[in-house]
Symmetry: C2
Subunit: 665 residues, 2 copies
């Protein structure tokens, strides 16, 4: 791609040439839209804003004056002259993102794994995957969903084996990451999970009542007051078969979860579909983007009007309403009415402020100093800047909009450095755009161009994140663009392609963006969050006091077999290099066996596994940890239990025999 | 670590100083053995070769003259003067393993995922994970174990949700990789799976009869005649409750699987526990390492004797025996008696040759030109070189041993460059040792030192693989050491540590080894195999003729709902950007719903997902592919089916509504 508005010599193009460039770019993009649609060449369309546009019409609309509602300003780039589109790094100052053997990365990156259901821990700047943390999925490598404890947790949270996690968020103390916990949503099943960062292990999953799709997920600053979850899909309340095809009765819910108990404290029903949520820095406002304020159920119904409304939740005001009993209890949760017509929203102190934006925006992010929330336009080439202080003082919803810079086609997400810059991902343009926040605010709306620079990415970015961008003091050294398509960027690996997370060096925001590395990602990360390594202090072995009273610490000496009933047996054994406490044990066909295994080692990284052939059992036991698995020994025979983690030179010989005797009775 | 036998100036140490160095190294190592053993300081032991040695005794034994059976030659390094232990790369010629944004890796690396049950595709030299291919595990990201087809395949293969895969092997034509298939074993459950490399997807899993643990796995050269699987654990035959605690009746089996039908053609029962297998280059011999020829069931029983026996299977001779009916049929498979006392093994043409090695060796690998098989000593510091041609001509089993070089402590695996060098991983020494094959063969046994160079790795390597080392023409540019422990090499991520796969540059074998990169690996890769990128030609979209007749290609026009019974419904719909063919559909509570979805796009990387909230269903559908999921609609309500792969600017709006009506009857 070339600069939008200048020729090769940097001279301004005349408007027709700009239109032609845009047309060519969009032709490239739309060429792919054509191919898949079988035998429909004549009616090839691009659906945007619910309108079916032919390719030519779309390009023209984009280049026109912005009369079209949903596309008001596809000409975003055309007026500006300061765009500096860099398509290749300037060689001289390219930083090396490699981390030398044995040296450590500077940042922890926590990636949501999307439909894989897991969290991935990735080191920055090396982009190496340091660990996977299974969350909503089952995963044998760590025995997650195989030992009794995690199996029960997953069963109680809906008995599901996957989830679609999007937004990882970190616990805070005094507005900074405290390294204690991470939460992440499950969009597929309306859940929120918590990962304990002492052990890098999921320790709680909440199935949030009354809501089908938790999409946005955020932590209330500055001290993790609540974990907020945005219910995206509108459904009947409760969703028990009533009002099946009566969308007017559907609602979406904003939920507040207690971070300790993981109980849902209260919910607020609103108009439209809630999308992403972020909070201010002092615990007052939670601000959600939303679409489909029409309450439609098809794309065309959802995009009938010319605007949607951001919802700004006044948390203390909602707490007061709950306290005053102004709610309906549904499935045990107080549900407060926050719809636009609700009595609680009339007057000068509404519990939810409705702020108009161009149609179907996508993300909202609050900037580092807490002054502004940034709402990316998606179908509009703009970012709506909301003045957070004005939420309290202003009575006209339009007055809270501090600016609406045009940034490019398909803006989805925004991130920040520590020097007053915002970086917005452009899904349609396949670019990251760097722009100046104050310039956008100070300028008369639409009359200036705060855009500093654009960087091509490959291809179609969703989230964009800079290191520690969600804190009050972003480091601004590295930025990652999470691109949804990789196409030809990697060796081909069949029809299911990896995504492409690209590492971009931004040098505290003081230099040009430089694309440093492509990084393939298993489908499909949505978002990530980065914490400096000094902010975490994980354990390297288990602290057995963390499970004392719940599970026995089984030593070599007290390894034993105990029959607990006619058809039930407890087997307890230690494990160490290179032997289990029990060399063998005998049970009867049909016995329910509860196997408890303690890793009595004290040295980091000496893990033992427990595989039981043909019984679908695998335990993964870190030093000082104890795990249990309950299974039925349903077929007579000899079964060699063995260690799956290579632990010593005699690892291969580390085994125990389970003898299952035929039951004659 | 320092050179074993010279001081800082390169002068030879006197024997006492050498002993002291070894002692210090082992002290470091054994310090960790001490810690985990609770309150047993006085009896701290290292079990090797079944003998319990105190730390001091072990060190002394290692430094002694080799009188001890299992440790014959812990002094391996002491005699030599040519060891060049490199602990850091020589800066000047360090190659950059980074692959620039948009450029491709040169090699496909296929990693077994161990207890994670998956195959990982990793690019060399960048070490980036390009894709995961679920094999024995279920994995929602790709809908594997969620769509009907893969769910049925997993159910028929034992209804298990995980496996422990160790050895990925590639299909061959004319002795070279043809890019068609990959096979991998499941040690936990005695299975072998096949991955189709057109689609990078598992397409068959065989539950091998009569065997509990398939460990070694190999392809018969030069044209993928069979896929061989080594049954490691000895069990009764059949394992149906007979001979439960009668180990004399236990057997382990070598299995030959047809690569097309994936049927088990025949099996050979042998003495001992089979470990790893490799084949010669012309279809005659399959050579397996083995341990526990004693037939013991505890470590001390397994290491009672002073040697074990490699088993060399004469494949044509076994086929003749099967043809002649000289077998017992067990669970439908011909089982030939290949034990040492079998009548088929007497005389000059045994079907299995038993070749003595030092006690409890580990791996066997056949070198590039097919002359030799290399058996790493594990407890012995040697590699036993077997002359493959001599297998046919020699009547004395000892005569087939062409050399037994001393390489270091804990040799486990060997790999090759194209210049006559072998590289052996040393588990205990935590090193990769490069040595000269012909020097080892030509020299009188034990009297010379073919070792060229040693490279520290971090820590405790298992497999070691150079690029295309398993072909007849290794490229020898890069080598990967798969280290079992990472300890302090990465940012801490809790008690479950990643492994550490280290990339080492070997420059076609003509230069010193250079450690280039540490790469964390999710637990726990065992082995990998590398193919040059020119040897694969994966599809970028599906070819619908591959499933014609089995599944319908559902277009937008014929999207529909069909009631097929009182409680069963077929729902068929297309998917494309940004809509499903059906905007909604209605079923009744309790209906079994079969949902068929076709992705009608034709463009690479435009994937659509299908998530059904609360029903544990996820489909992942590449362009031109069709997937089905069958589930029960057991709760009345509105369920928003949505697309999980970000596919267009209106991806978020890509949905369909499933209305589940209450059933009154």
């Amino acid at each position: 791609m070339t600069d939008d508005t200048t020729d090769a010599d940097g001279d301004a193009l005349d408007p027709d040439e700009v239109v032609e460039r845009h047309e060519n770019q969009l032709d490239d993009l739309l060429a792919e839209v054509d191919e898949p649609t079988p035998a429909e060449d004549d009616s090839t369309t691009l659906e945007l804003a619910g309108l079916e546009l032919s390719r030519r019409d779309f390009v023209k609309a984009g280049a026109a004056t912005g009369a079209m509602a949903g596309l008001a300003g596809c000409s975003g780039n055309i007026g500006g002259g300061s765009n500096n589109t860099t398509s290749s790094p300037s060689g001289s100052s390219t930083p090396d993102h490699k981390v030398a053997p044995g040296e450590h990365d500077e940042y922890y990156g926590f990636w949501s794994g999307g439909q894989s259901g897991e969290i991935r821990v990735i080191g920055i700047p090396s982009m190496r995957e340091l660990m996977r943390v299974p969350v909503f999925n089952t995963e044998a490598g760590r025995g997650y969903g195989y030992d009794d404890q995690t199996t029960e947790m997953l069963e109680e949270a809906g008995d599901l084996t996957w989830g679609d996690n999007h937004h990882p968020v970190l616990s805070e103390t005094d507005g900074d990451y405290d390294g204690e916990y991470l939460w992440v949503n499950d969009k597929a099943n309306g859940r929120i999970a918590r990962v304990n960062l002492k052990y890098f292990e999921t320790d709680a999953i909440t199935n949030v009542p009354n809501t089908q799709a938790i999409h946005g997920c955020s932590v209330q600053s500055p001290d993790t007051g609540y974990v907020f979850g945005n219910g995206e899909f509108r459904t009947p309340l409760p969703n028990d078969g009533r009002d099946l095809d009566n969308p007017d009765e559907y609602v979406s819910l904003f939920s507040a979860i207690d971070p300790e108990t993981m109980e849902t404290e209260w919910q607020v029903k609103v108009d439209g579909n809630l999308d992403i949520v972020d909070t201010d820095k002092d615990g007052r406002w939670a601000i959600s983007s939303a679409y489909n304020d029409e309450g439609g159920v098809t794309v065309s119904e959802m995009t009938r009007d010319d605007r949607d409304f951001v919802k700004a939740f006044d948390v203390p005001a909602i707490e007061e309403a709950v306290e005053a009993g102004e709610y309906e209890e549904v499935n045990g949760v107080p549900v407060v009415d926050g719809t636009q017509d609700s009595s609680l929203n009339q007057g000068d102190s509404p519990i939810v402020r409705y702020i108009p934006t161009p149609k179907s925006p996508h993300c909202v992010e609050v900037g580092p100093n807490g002054d502004y929330a940034f709402v990316a336009g998606k179908l509009s080439p703009t970012v709506t800047i909301i003045d957070i202080d004005a939420l309290d003082s202003s009575s006209d919803p339009e007055d809270v909009v501090a600016g609406r810079p045009k940034v490019g086609l398909g803006p989805l997400h925004t991130t920040f450095d520590g020097n007053g810059h915002a970086y917005t991902s452009l899904f349609i343009d396949s670019q990251a755009v760097k722009w100046d926040i104050e310039a956008a605010v100070e300028a008369e709306q639409g009359s200036t161009d705060p855009v500093i620079e654009k960087q091509d990415v490959h291809y179609n970015p969703g989230h964009i994140q800079a290191v520690e961008a969600m804190t009050t003091d972003p480091d601004g050294e590295w930025l990652v663009s999470l691109n949804k398509l990789s196409k030809d960027r990697f060796l081909p690996v069949g029809p299911i392609h990896p995504d492409n997370d690209q590492l971009i060096h931004i040098g505290q925001g003081e230099k040009e963006m430089e694309l440093v590395a492509d990084h393939p990602a298993y489908p499909e990360p949505h978002d990530c969050v980065f914490a400096h390594r000094d902010k975490l202090d994980p354990a390297t072995t288990w602290d057995k006091s963390d499970y004392e009273g719940e599970k026995e610490f089984v030593t070599q000496e007290n390894s034993r077999v105990e029959r607990t009933g006619e058809r039930s047996v407890d087997v307890k054994t230690s494990s160490m290099r290179s032997e289990y406490g029990l060399k063998d044990f005998t049970v009867k066909e049909g016995d329910e066996v509860t196997l408890t295994v303690t890793n009595i080692e004290g040295v980091r990284d000496v893990i033992h596994g427990v595989a039981i052939p043909d019984h679908d059992v695998h335990l993964s036991i870190a030093p000082q940890d104890t795990r249990e698995a309950t299974f039925t020994a349903d077929e007579p025979g000899v079964y060699w239990i063995y260690c799956t983690y290579f632990c010593s030179a005699l690892h291969l010989e580390m085994r125990s025999r389970m003898l299952v005797e035929p039951r004659d009775d």
